[in-house]
Symmetry: C2
Subunit: 296 residues, 2 copies
């Protein structure tokens, strides 16, 4: 990835040894993929022969990890799918399995935690020590002191909710304050004031490319986690046009359901593999197109 060091210095990021930015950049490079595979196994949607397994979520995840890891830059695990059914142990074991299978793959715990300092320290302990995640999603509504217990783990990543694209996402995120909406205040504070440990990233949904473009304009090469492609219907070309950073990377484009449930029964792993490969290739084709467009 020629120019990575130059770009990262230009935008003021110190690439920590074994830090989240570095691990993510390495993963983008060696797998040539911006696809993040979401391991959110809905108990009601698992193939019937998996449901009969003693540890169905773990078994399903193992097969999905094996099938998709070659096409992904990261795995993201939505903790609610485990905590709803008391499957924390299967979450731990899934992460351990992913570590064995793809040792250099960043693992993101999607937990959207957010609370006062003493409680946030417990949540950080949950994400980084108990589960050993490389990064965790955090809701910044309660303010920066609720974020620092996470960013204090300097070798881990902290991905703040900024602009999502669910139906009610504008209720608070789009409230205009001063010269811009609330979500842009988060992007500004993240890049200017809150990123002392150089381990922040932001969540920006795929359905509003204009918001993605504005956030990218504010944060330089800070990584962005982009949900909303696939089952939620975001436009991949628009995401790449608006979201790529100066190096032609910078995105973790998450797809969960559309990969996990690409097949229905015995073929689910094979179908997931083909779907993940297809997403990687579509993303890379659109990247190539975007870079051609920006050159011309």
């Amino acid at each position: 990835m020629a120019g990575l060091r130059g770009s990262s210095q230009r935008f003021g990021y110190q690439v920590l040894v074994n830090g989240f930015y570095q691990r993510l950049a390495t993963s983008w490079e060696i797998r040539q993929s911006l696809l993040c595979v979401g391991l959110d196994p809905d108990p009601d949607k698992l193939p019937s022969r998996i449901i009969g397994h003693r540890f169905p979520l773990l078994e399903f995840n193992r097969q999905i990890i094996d099938a998709t890891g070659d096409y992904a830059c990261a795995f993201k695990l939505q903790i609610a799918y485990y905590s709803a059914v008391g499957a924390e142990r299967q979450l731990e074991q899934t992460i351990a399995y992913a570590r064995d299978a793809f040792p250099d793959m960043p693992v993101i715990l999607d937990a959207k935690r957010g609370d006062i300092g003493s409680t946030a320290r417990m949540y950080a302990r949950e994400a980084f020590e108990r589960y050993g995640a490389d990064a965790v999603t955090v809701n910044p509504y309660m303010g920066f002191d609720t974020v620092t217990p996470f960013t204090d783990y300097g070798d881990r990543g902290v991905i703040l909710i900024c602009r999502t694209s669910n139906p009610g996402s504008g209720d608070l995120q789009e409230l205009k304050s001063g010269d811009c909406p609330v979500y842009q205040h988060i992007a500004r504070r993240a890049v200017r004031d809150w990123n002392g440990n150089r381990n922040l990233a932001l969540v920006v949904g795929a359905l509003y490319p204009d918001a993605l473009s504005r956030v990218r304009g504010i944060v330089g090469d800070m990584p962005l986690l982009v949900p909303g492609i696939g089952a939620q219907g975001g436009d991949l070309d628009a995401v790449l046009e608006c979201g790529l950073d100066s190096r032609g990377v910078g995105l973790m484009i998450n797809v969960s359901r559309d990969i996990l449930y690409a097949g229905t029964q015995d073929d689910f792993a094979r179908s997931a593999s083909l779907k993940a490969e297809s997403y990687r290739d579509r993303i890379n084709a659109a990247r190539a197109q975007t870079s051609l467009t920006s050159v011309s």
Copy 2:
């Protein structure tokens, strides 16, 4: 509690049979207390003979519940203190114990969840089905459609983060949009648009009585969960003056650390009991003073 039905009808609340509002109002009435006891056992602060117990968090909680329940209107369990150390089973058992010991006591799961619909449904299942909580705290930053999977459980309460009083709470909550700051938009939407199932409440911290007063002015008799008394230093008199509803109730004033760690070793339960009784009495003395002041 004379006039309760009249007041609740006046403010448009339908008191559901066995609904959260009703259970809370009953608890305020029969125990004559607005104190919420926070069961947030920090593993580093437990008495040494508890640490040696096989299930230390459960054992500590059982003794605290027995010692303080007569003086409380609710118990609140901060889930991070359990999930950080893999103690979900002790959390389940604590709630079951509280149900046995005080069957009519509302139990609040303080989880501050918030995510898109399909994930929020999993979090609601976690809070209401797995843990059987009467109410759960929710972060509304992602918008109303992320709240409805919780409010759809019409017999449970949903307590939205509105205005907290941690050091960085103003970073986003106080951003002014139109004629008021973001947190007041939440209060307005909560009372006008989001409370179709009549089961919302709000979190408003104790350190900014002015914010408490403004929220109370917006939401009528909607219940407010008020952290920040005790270890965090909020002014109890100001909280009551600004936060009581038209019926002289309406508050769940949470105290955690100041009660849990009132004693240090073998006397911890007795010390917690005395401290909880003292808080209840101080709150009721201030309530009496407030009602005298408002009459004169």
